[in-house]
Assembly symmetry: C3
Amino acid sequence: MKLKNIIESQQFDEETIFELFKKTDELRIGVKKPLDGKILATLFYEPSTRTRLSFESAMLRMGGQVISTENAKEFSSAIKGESIEDSVRVISTYSDAIVIRHFEEGALEKAASVSPVPVINGGSGSGQHPTQTLLDIYTIWKEVGKIDGITIAMVGDLKYGRTVRSLCYLLGKFKNIKIIFIAPKALSINQDIKDYLKRKDVSFEERTELDKYLPEVDVVYMTRIQKERMSEKEYEESKGLYKITEKNLQLIKKTARLLHPLPHVEEIQLSLETENKDQRVAYFRQAENGLYVRMALLSCLLD
Amino acid sequence: MKLKNIIESQQFDEETIFELFKKTDELRIGVKKPLDGKILATLFYEPSTRTRLSFESAMLRMGGQVISTENAKEFSSAIKGESIEDSVRVISTYSDAIVIRHFEEGALEKAASVSPVPVINGGSGSGQHPTQTLLDIYTIWKEVGKIDGITIAMVGDLKYGRTVRSLCYLLGKFKNIKIIFIAPKALSINQDIKDYLKRKDVSFEERTELDKYLPEVDVVYMTRIQKERMSEKEYEESKGLYKITEKNLQLIKKTARLLHPLPHVEEIQLSLETENKDQRVAYFRQAENGLYVRMALLSCLLD
Amino acid sequence: MKLKNIIESQQFDEETIFELFKKTDELRIGVKKPLDGKILATLFYEPSTRTRLSFESAMLRMGGQVISTENAKEFSSAIKGESIEDSVRVISTYSDAIVIRHFEEGALEKAASVSPVPVINGGSGSGQHPTQTLLDIYTIWKEVGKIDGITIAMVGDLKYGRTVRSLCYLLGKFKNIKIIFIAPKALSINQDIKDYLKRKDVSFEERTELDKYLPEVDVVYMTRIQKERMSEKEYEESKGLYKITEKNLQLIKKTARLLHPLPHVEEIQLSLETENKDQRVAYFRQAENGLYVRMALLSCLLD
């Protein structure tokens, strides 16, 4: 399997996804430096230590090398008015692939339109974050044992949360999915996603209570109310509305899993012991899976 | 050929330059890790993603490794009042060569005076940027086929633009060069450069119109009006004065080349198609050449 | 010798210290990439180019690789409210060891409590900086030839200076040590350290004059008055009180050594020639030793 760019979740079909998961499982066991001599550039216009280090570690574990900027918005030529296209045309001559995280939707498409080397979306505006989505869905597959037929609750900031949006796009590729959106009215899922899900025959419902639906689902996908993406008023009205605690965690099926794209703040209130011992708490394993999925993606782009 | 430090354009003579170009041409074809086990430190007191990543990629492509700070002014001991000399004495114990970009002229000379390892100027104040100049002149040599005897227009901010200053110093080493400086009065080339060119028998003239001179030249070297280095008044009076458009590009000879140290803003107004297909537009190839020239320099400093 | 985490100076006993020094001496001669395939993460919530690059160089010289953030406080999920524990749980899945520098005392203990990989303290609050201390004491051992029985003057900011605190803890492991604390009243050494030294039978005295004690000591450990850790009033009253000059340097025994954790500002006023030629001036060799000591530590943690 050979990929060209990674821009949005929709670009993956079911067959590609499972090929990728097979590759991921191979790579998590051990690699023999297939990317020796290759260089990955990480160009982050919006800092994200987690995503950046995950990509960089994936590249290094595959035998490759990394060049990096953790704050391109302030430190690169962007501040002098250079277009993303020009920056990418130059950086692409120094590297074999580029991971870009950008504060504007559409920036990745612009980058890919001029780059001679593969471009990977590391998160763009409130739009997409496809590698996060691939690790989310890989985690569901590994932890729940299937993707077709699952019921999933998506909870919290569904309006600004790009991981939720990307995950919906990808779930649309599978069969018999049921999504329960749980959010305050002000942060409910956008119409474009609902239209997409209807076209894809994905069953969904919109709710405002959490506990009532916990017993029904195979996956609870919690998200953080993102203070930095909304007005102060929106934030004050929304924060703390939905929480997973020691108590309501018990409402979730033993075989179900609690996911979170991280970082989490007050929406997860579990003890260290529960986080370590309760198999339902899967979000740290989910983060680790990001490393292996990104290794597989880099392999498909560069090997 | 063995170099000690790279501080200013003047340090290179014609013979050294062509040896360096020969080395550059060898290295662009392929390398066998001659710098394995060597470490390059990049110490940027003034952020510049482009220059830094170019050096880092060059080092990695040669089999070396990199340690890096992209904002030494704020993140290093400089903020605690440490002198550049002391910083370099310490960093030199961790690395085999140091690239420094600094906001003050003279900082590189101070660094080189105490460093036991080679020091490379990655741009200092409004003074010099010798590796940019070497890639500029390498690009002229590759694209025009010669350096002796060329006519070159240098356009835009000739007062604050350090690439123009450095390029003049280097062109002084060659024969029968003619330079046409095109700038508003307020941003005209400094007297020290004119004195140098006279001493070196380089013919030059100072003009204020662009289009009239485009048909005469082998190279158009456009530069950006650098908002960050001048007063608001100077900027408002100068920006947009000189532009290369689809129209006046046609005034340039087919064999001539349009160079730019990048980033460019409104002074280049060409379509993507022209940028990709018109052979005269050479500035992205010029940026790529930076990688190979820096590989050659690192090789001469460290191998 | 196998270490688990490096959190505070007190954790090392005399036997471990000398084993470490033996390892350090081996590694400074040459290494054969024992850490090939291993990844070190450097997570700096408080920027420190010197400490970070020293660790990164140590890792690269041992054949390992590095992932890095130089400003985690602003660029990582910390800004979104993530706990240090969660950050470490995630980063530990991308790396084989983590160096953390943090502005809060206690952060390292929290990190180590959840990390499945070794955690190394790269400086925490005004508390500890154990790897600086190990390089300090290694330098004393190399330069003075012994640790037991030395007399050491610690000069300057003894209240906020974490290197002094850590060094006291480590000297408590040795025999017949005499410490002369020289500081203005407002910046004198804290009671907790004095209590510790009493328990350990370390002899110490508190003084306010410098020159008088210089002839007595084997080591002068100068420190900077740290503007950034105190009120403006404290700073104005303390800066410039203690200085080593060409003149009072002559009061120090020929076999004694002048150390400084660096960066130094006005408290060292020596000419370049003295710094290079007078064997008593040891602070740049001290900084270089940091590289070898950190190589030894990484080897003990990871090999």
